[in-house]
């Protein structure tokens, strides 16, 4: 069923009784060419496997319901303001894919390119942003360096007069913005389903069929599923799932909290990040301020955070935007994130033949969804890494080839 204003009109006048399921709910078959575990990045992977690489026998397994992983639990920001050559072209590819996604999927995922401004508060920060902005420009992305007045023109409501750390400028990527996160899962699922990909929900992987160093499928709560190739994309739970294949990863699982305020009339021009505290914010189409900050900082699978981080984030918010004091925090949630040893992800083969790994997205996987799906599909289908993801190897720490955007070193909670 193709979506358009006309379909809505037709359905509207006939009582909205004709809407079709967006995806089938198939029983898993006993065997597929490719099984992808996880319906976040994995859903995108399933779509691109079918769409771009002609794979017709593909299943995407989801432990819970579609969108129950991190694809539906994030602050919806998309951007490509990365500096390092192993990252920048990858995230820029992702942003380009976002820019055409609605038409490609025939699903309005509400890509809202209203810009992202990283604020700086010192000369050294400004120079680091210039370095990053120039790297972005070298890679074909957009970046502008704003001075204080430039920031003020865009965001007159920020604290310019009484700040502990005065705003001196910012790095502005106009093409950055937000996307309606749940809709991304739904849009990819619907499109993949249309191409014959089986989305199997409530299907948890409990083991891998590995013999002689080769993976031949997965054991699940819905039975054994054989596959020639298995791709795992379960960020947040990577450690837990890959341990089933006997792997220790350069990853820790941490809790990242996010927050949303009550709905408000439009107040923010785009995404803002505070450079002198742990706070970033955007405003959803529904009007809520969506904001967050640092991870809680300790290993956790509990999917909930604690008060010190909540307070720290709100302190940053009030320091930056003292106008938000009288609006209220409506909801907070804690998600499970894979924090890697250099803050960058992995899209790679594993030591097991036929088993592929995608994870380590830290707190920034959502923006990568299209490119991650695309590059993971490329890797699985062709057995060779896509050029823009070639640095995202699992063995990079053995080589000394960390992709450390923040320069924080091998301590995951610092990235």
């Amino acid at each position: 069923m193709r979506y358009s204003a006309w379909t809505i009109f037709k359905e509207g006048i006939s009582g909205n009784g004709g809407w079709k399921p967006m995806w089938r709910e198939p029983e898993p078959k006993g065997e597929y060419d490719i099984v992808v575990v996880g319906a976040g990045h994995g859903m995108a992977t399933g779509y691109y496997l079918a769409k771009e690489f002609g794979c017709r026998s593909v299943a995407v397994l989801e432990k819970g319901w579609l969108g129950s992983g991190n694809i539906g639990r994030n602050t919806t920001i998309v951007r490509s303001n990365y500096m390092l050559p192993e990252n920048q072209p990858f995230y820029e590819l992702s942003l380009k894919l976002w820019e055409g996604l609605e038409q490609e999927l025939n699903f309005n995922v509400m890509v809202s390119q209203r810009g992202i401004i990283n604020l700086c508060h010192s000369d050294a920060q400004r120079d680091a942003f210039a370095r990053r902005g120039n790297a972005m420009r070298l890679s074909g992305a957009d970046a502008e360096l704003l001075d204080r007045d430039g920031v003020r023109r865009l965001c007159p409501f920020l604290n310019f007069d009484n700040a502990r750390f005065p705003i001196t400028g910012g790095l502005w990527q106009k093409r950055g913005g937000t996307v309606r996160h749940d809709a991304v899962a739904w849009g990819y699922a619907r499109a993949a389903d249309g191409l014959g990909v089986d989305l199997v929900q409530n299907c948890e992987v409990t083991g891998f069929l590995i013999s002689n160093g080769t993976c031949a499928g997965v054991e699940t709560t819905r039975g054994l599923i054989k596959a020639k190739k298995v791709g795992v994309a379960v960020a947040g739970s990577s450690g837990r799932v890959m341990s089933l294949a006997g792997m220790r990863l350069p990853i820790e699982s941490h809790v990242l909290q996010a927050f949303v305020s009550e709905g408000l009339k439009p107040a923010l021009p785009g995404v803002l990040t505070f450079g002198a505290g742990h706070f970033y914010v955007s405003q959803s189409d529904k009007g809520g301020l969506v904001f967050g900050g640092d991870i809680d900082g300790y290993n956790s699978y509990a999917q909930r955070g604690n008060l010190p981080t909540l307070e720290d984030v709100c302190e940053g918010g009030m320091a930056l935007m003292p106008m938000i004091g009288r609006t209220r925090l409506l909801r907070m949630w804690g998600g499970l994130v894979d924090m890697s040893m250099d803050g960058s992800p992995f899209i790679d083969r594993t030591h097991v033949e036929g088993l592929y790994f995608n994870g380590g997205w830290n707190y920034g996987g959502f923006k990568a969804t299209p490119a991650s799906g695309y590059c993971f599909a490329h890797l699985i289908a062709r057995d060779s890494p896509h050029p823009v993801a070639a640095g995202m190897r699992l063995d990079r720490f053995r080589q000394g080839a960390a992709i450390d955007e923040k320069g924080a070193g091998a301590q995951p909670n610092l990235h």
């Binding site: 309005n108 210039a130 120039n134 529904k286 999917q303 008060l307 302190e315 209220r328 091998a410």
Partner: protein
């Protein structure tokens, strides 16, 4: 005309009249009113507009679950959007405005959406607005955004202040209704320290809204007396206007106490206080929330929850209507009918979905059993209802009860899931509730008063018993009992028209139908697709109804369908309160250098360096640009002598027999051979082999060293040293203490620095180059006996010293050094001049050490000793860190000397395209060098060492610059180091 619906009775103080306004319309009420009750008393039923269809709405509830009656309270910078009229305590002069309409509340242009509703069903926006592509950003989305949202931010800083505090107690009791009060009395009498918190301004919970008797008194009177007894116990703290908004790990609860929201203004006092309550035990007595029934046009002003209708009549003395009908599926609805009738309000009909309901007779009312309401009329106020059995009844108020949902929220904040109890048709706390929490009263599904009271007492007895207190339970609390029968009814079937489930977000039964049909078959997916439960009321009235309807449509039981996850906060919390006083200049503490007062008196310009404020430069009269000041400071230092406060550098004192061994392991280069009285430069790596920090360490004695770190890493290096000492080598005899704040330290730099120091240091101390050469250190005295440490080190490249004295002498030392140096025109210099001189000298600093730099990048590869084990030694040998073409620290000068260099520029070979593949490196630091008269820079460029003399482009797109630069040695100034050794 005013207060035309005010009736007798209730807990409002009629002796005082409060004036307030709604949308500019003047009204009156009394202390004890909420804004909602006062508006009802004034006959104002229309209070707001819904989110999507802009339907006219009146009040639905009488508590925090209110979805409809949201107002913007107060005006200007004090404007508080999305405020529930039902929890806003009335005060004199209150101003409220309705929200979310274009033109006016009465005539909202956006109400056209209501007529377009067939085309605006669940998730419609995911299916359209995609063509033409460019219209989304420019046309559709701005329109959607401006239509969405509810209230507006003032755009001005919040003028109020907020505080934070900690409370420790044995037992926290959440909610002061019958269960909570009974629990508090029991716990309090046991001797335990108790906190009793309630969100309301009046203790008593539902007792204030009901006509129950407790101990033969009206419930509200009993509650009042109980509160007085509790207030008299000094081990009990009773907190009204205090919402426990979240349960966190280990018995910690978040609470928000509203201190001045009920007053005309805060009078300079904190508006709210954010408490963190640390409890050993907690008892959740949060009561229950009534839920509506979905039937066609069930959202008209005048239709409200049955419990709310009786709260308005019983507690607030405000008639919810003049001709009322009740629609119920449980016995509780009948209580509303009888209470309203007892208050003299005409009850026209009671409609119960149950065939076999035991129907008390209500004077003047017809009883309809096994019936339902299938239609309603009245756009801005209900005018009539239609029964399934036929016929319209004229009413102006309809009280609806679909049963009560226990307020399980806080029992689920640690991700517990409630369990379904079919006998009361509700979820109750179950499974894993927070450790050491008990639940009592309606929150536990004990919906009868007597059960609530006895449950509260029992929970408190257990909790205090756990902690070793002896609860006394001799005195019974007598309470009236009531019927609490229910038969599930979520929606009225086979009735045409839209039936609302989530009132605020305009989610109807049809939306749930559509979404279930489209594949959104779990409660979490339903919520996300339809937005049910995502409004400011957090779905308190909608969630259970929505998931029950979803369960019906997916053929599951309610227990199988399960709830969505309950997350904090229980009710929304002002962001200002969560931030407390950490805002504006007080966002973070300020660290002042020892000479700050002196610098301020000299008119220094200060700069934030982490939490420090440092003097950036010292402008002199006539200097109009910062560069004039900085150039002068540099030249004066290089010509004669300059003085700079360098206290902010981290200083760590190291003692012990194994101190040398310890240093040898934490630094990449060797330290065992360092002689007493000598200083060595040290390079510190992270364990992965990346440069972490650098500084100097001076050996003051056999077992005594002083290490310096960079300002930025002072805390981190200390932490890592403690890690190495305690965790890696626990038996090394090493002791550490941070002395960063203990000693004031000043750099005295320039050719006349020795002569200046001779004037202040103990005369017998020999400062000659022979006895106190470059990299020497000593303890001595200065300024007539002040303990001092003297280090001959140089960041500027000049003959230079650093002198340290106990911090309390720092300010006067600066003054004395300048005075003593008057004959040399001693010049104070700030961080800018310091930076210029270090770039001239080619010293790397924070800009170069960005956490990815190796010793090899810095040209110091050979410093990493292979002969010993040091942190970072092994992993620094990994292949990718040792590529032959690795970037090397180099100097850069513009070919055209008039060009200014910029940091952050990337290097490209001439003639190559500007692509990432051709990227050769970047400029890390730049300065205008007054010494050389042109701009200079430091940066990293591939194969840098072998490319001296080559010309490349320094491209800075974001600043619009493209400058040709020559690669040179990073050591622009005195490369042989003769001056610093002189």
């Amino acid at each position: 005309m005013t207060q035309r619906n005010r009736i007798e009775g209730g807990l409002v103080d009629r002796s005082t009249t409060l004036r307030f306004s709604f949308n500019g319309k003047r009204m009156e009420g009394h202390p004890g009113d909420t804004l909602a009750s006062a508006m009802l008393a004034n006959g104002q039923h229309l209070m707001g507009r819904s989110f999507k269809y802009h339907r006219p709405r009146g009040v639905l509830a009488a508590g925090p679950e209110e979805p409809n009656a949201l107002v913007t309270l107060r005006a200007g910078a004090l404007a508080e959007p999305n405020t529930r009229a039902t929890t806003t305590e009335l005060f004199d002069g209150l101003e409220a405005m309705s929200q979310n309409h274009r033109l006016s509340l009465e005539f909202d242009l956006m109400a056209v959406n209501d007529f377009l509703s067939p085309f605006l069903s669940a998730g419609f926006y995911y299916k359209t607005f995609m063509w033409p592509k460019s219209f989304w950003e420019k046309v559709y989305e701005p329109f959607i955004r401006s239509s969405a949202g509810l209230g507006a931010l003032s755009g001005e800083p919040d003028p109020d202040s907020y505080d934070k505090g900690f409370i420790h107690c044995d037992i926290l009791i959440i909610g002061a209704g019958p269960a909570g009060l009974a629990a508090a009395l029991t716990a309090g009498e046991s001797g335990a320290s108790v906190v009793l918190a309630d969100e309301d301004f009046k203790i008593g919970g539902r007792l204030n809204a009901e006509t129950h008797l407790v101990d033969d008194q009206p419930g509200a009177d009993w509650a009042h007396a109980a509160a007085e007894r509790l207030e008299a116990m000094n081990n009990v703290r009773v907190m009204t206007r205090t919402t426990i908004y979240g349960a966190f790990d280990h018995g910690i609860f978040g609470a928000i106490e509203r201190r001045t929201d009920h007053l005309p203004d805060s009078g300079g006092k904190p508006r709210q206080i954010l408490w963190r309550i640390y409890s050993k035990r907690s008892i959740l007595c949060a009561g229950a929330t009534e839920r509506p029934i979905a039937f066609p046009d069930n959202d008209r002003p005048g239709i409200m929850l049955a419990g709310a209708a009786r709260a308005y009549a019983n507690r607030f003395g405000a008639a919810p209507g003049n001709r009322v009908a009740v629609f119920t599926c449980c016995d509780d609805g009948w209580r509303t009918a009888s209470d309203l009738a007892a208050n003299g309000i005409r009850v026209s009909a009671v409609v119960d979905t149950r065939e076999g309901a035991s129907a008390p007779s209500i004077p003047g009312a017809i009883s309809k059993l096994g019936d339902a309401i299938v239609a309603t009329r009245g756009r801005k106020r209900l005018t009539s209802i239609k029964l399934r059995s036929g016929g319209w009844i004229e009413v102006d108020c309809l009280a609806v009860s679909g049963g009560w949902n226990p307020n399980v929220h806080l029992s689920c904040h640690l991700r517990g899931r409630p369990t379904w109890r079919p006998d009361i048709a509700a979820f109750v706390p179950g499974g894993s509730i927070p450790p050491n929490m008990r639940v009592a009263g309606a929150a536990n599904g004990d919906l009868k008063l007597s059960d609530a009271v006895s449950g509260g007492r029992a929970a408190a007895a257990e909790a205090s018993g756990d902690l070793g207190f002896r609860p006394r339970l001799e005195e019974e609390i007598k309470s009236s009992d009531e019927l609490a029968g229910i038969e599930e009814c979520w929606s009225v079937r086979n009735a045409s028209g839209r039936a609302w489930v989530d009132f605020q977000n305009d989610v109807t039964v049809k939306d749930i139908d559509v979404s279930a049909r489209e594949g959104f078959r779990s409660s979490e997916m339903l919520k996300r697709y339809t937005t049910a439960g995502m409004a400011t009321d957090q779905g308190k009235t909608a969630n259970v109804v929505a998931l029950a309807l979803l369960a019906e449509r997916t053929g599951k039981s309610i227990a199988e369908a399960g709830t969505t996850i309950y997350r904090p906060p229980y009710t929304p919390v002002a962001i200002g309160a969560l931030a407390g006083r950490s805002r504006g200049k007080d966002f973070r503490p300020v660290r002042l250098t020892p000479s700050h007062r002196w610098a301020a008196s000299q008119g220094a310009v200060f700069i934030e360096t982490g939490n420090w404020l440092r003097a950036q430069w010292y402008p002199r009269p006539g200097e109009t640009h910062w560069r004039q000041s900085v150039d002068r400071e540099v030249l004066a230092t290089r010509r004669s002598v300059g003085i700079c406060d360098v206290t902010t550098l981290g200083k760590i004192e190291i003692f012990g027999r194994d101190a040398a061994e310890f240093l040898d392991r934490v630094y990449a280069n060797g330290f065992k051979s360092l002689a007493i009285g000598k200083i060595r430069y040290g390079l510190m790596l992270r364990e992965e082999g990346i440069v972490y920090d650098d500084g100097t360490t001076a050996r003051l004695g056999e077992r005594h060293y002083v290490m310096t770190t960079t300002t930025a890493n002072a805390v981190l290096v200390y932490r890592n040293l403690e890690f190495a000492r305690q965790c890696l080598w626990p038996d090394l005899d090493v002791h550490l203490i941070s002395i960063t704040d203990g000693w004031a330290q000043f750099s005295v730099a320039g050719p006349n620095s020795r002569d200046l120091l001779r004037k202040v240091v103990e005369p017998s101390f020999d400062l000659s180059n022979e006895s106190f050469p470059f990299m020497a250190c000593a303890e001595t005295t200065a300024f007539g006996g002040v303990t001092s440490r003297l280090f001959r080190i140089s960041f500027s490249g000049e003959l230079a010293y650093e002198i340290a004295v106990p911090a309390r002498y720092g300010n006067s030392m600066m003054d004395n050094l300048i005075s003593a140096g008057r004959e040399f025109e001693a010049t104070p210099y700030g961080t800018e001049a310091l930076g210029v001189m270090r770039v001239e000298k080619g010293h790397f600093a924070g800009n170069e050490l960005d956490g990815r730099t190796t010793a090899r990048n810095l040209g110091l590869g050979r410093m990493v000793s292979k002969k010993k084990d040091c942190i970072g030694g092994v992993l620094s040998e990994r292949p990718a860190l040792n590529r032959a073409d690795a970037a090397k620290l180099s100097g850069f000068k513009p070919v055209d000397k008039s060009e200014a260099l910029t940091a952050g520029a990337h290097f490209l070979s001439k003639g190559q395209d500007a692509t990432m593949d051709n990227d050769q490196g970047w400029m890390s630091s730049v300065a205008y060098s007054p010494t050389f008269g042109h701009s200079i820079g430091l940066g990293f460029i591939m194969n840098g060492g072998g490319r001296r003399g080559e010309t490349v482009r320094a491209v800075d797109f974001v600043r619009g610059k493209d400058v040709e630069v020559e690669i040179v040695s990073p050591h622009f100034y005195d490369p042989e180091g003769e001056r610093q050794r002189g």
